[in-house]
Subunit: 216 residues, 2 copies
């Protein structure tokens, strides 16, 4: 980090504190839900006063929204961005699926996948939080589909492949693995998900796509 002027120091500190709050909020929300993420519990875990924490956000809803945004940022850093250097199409898709499954399997949070928990918690409650969670997860599903379309254009998968259907099925596997490993404590849940995704892609692939698959 470069040295900065003192005048810029105060807002920076506020930002850093906010980051620390959100880091803890992510963990709390993943295990106790975005509703169980209470201002009192969070502030006492951080050793600060309720109102001191509250000042960083305008309301509980804003705290929840900021937590979802922090989760989106983490997801982009750990999963989305590292594969942006890959060729669009099958290559990037395979990288994404690998990064995604690894990210959730080795999640440091008690509750596993933040977005699956938030999805099910808010799908029956209209509001800003629900809308943001839907936007985040819906766009990830669309990204998988779009990469399948790119793979189709590059003749890596067959033209007859239903990209929407296939992205639906691939997405389902990682979600199922998160559920099975978190709740049922099935050891090789992510192994089953990886195998399912691979065999499903093998059916869709052209000879040129098949060689890409074999490299993974």
């Amino acid at each position: 980090m470069p040295v900065d002027t003192n005048s810029e120091d105060r807002p920076r500190k506020g930002k850093r504190t906010r980051q620390q709050i959100l880091e803890r909020a992510l963990d709390l929300a993943s295990s106790h839900g975005l509703e169980g993420l209470t201002i009192g519990r969070l502030s006492s875990e951080l050793g600060m006063s309720k109102s001191g924490l509250f000042g960083h956000f305008g309301s509980k809803t804003d705290l929840q929204l900021a937590t979802v945004e922090a989760a989106m940022q983490r997801f982009e850093e750990s999963v989305v961005n590292p594969a942006l250097e890959d060729e669009p199409g099958l290559e990037r898709l395979l990288h994404w699926l690998t990064l995604w499954a690894d990210h959730i399997e080795h999640s440091p949070y008690r509750g596993g996948c933040f977005f699956q928990a938030a999805s099910l918690e808010f799908d029956g409650r209209p509001g800003e939080v629900r809308d943001l969670v839907a936007k985040a997860t819906g766009s990830w599903l669309a990204m998988l589909e779009s990469e399948l379309e790119a793979a189709k254009a590059a003749r890596q998968i067959r033209k007859a492949t239903d990209a929407r259907q296939l992205s639906f099925e691939l997405h389902a596997m990682v979600q199922q693995a998160n559920w099975a490993s978190q709740l049922l404590e099935i050891d090789n849940a992510f192994g089953m998900a990886r195998q399912a995704m691979l065999s499903r892609l093998q059916q869709a692939v052209t000879p040129s796509g098949a060689s890409l698959l074999r490299q993974t």
Copy 2:
């Protein structure tokens, strides 16, 4: 309903009230979670006092456990039992998958599948509620696997089929459909799930199993 003696009437009424409470509790829990199922909210929705309702249960945990049990009972009535008359194996499996998908697609509750919501809500929180949810959902997954084993014994699906893996994938599809329809409001989510399950089974089936598949 048959007429009964007066002496038996009082405990019966208590049971009926309890059933009405649990019916409402199921709806509330499906949309607001088992933790958002508060005694105060539930009692005011039912037009009775908090302590009056509380008397039917010993604690909030007991209310949550009773609600999960009520959901299990509903699931047995609507999904499990109707297919018990079918032949074990592929026939019963197909019937179960159909009943299951229909049950969730046409769920009267605001939050969709009760068990998926409860799974994600409690997977990070050890305790009796988590254990019961895990037992209920884990045994359903095991029932699907067991029916695949029966289908294998009846030579309806190939011997090489990995029943554990396949039940994992079938289960994933219905869960994914519930998520996609509830949160993303994708119209044909259950259609995609049905198609995925069918095509996955088609790959596993023997010629004699194939004719059973075609009848569905």
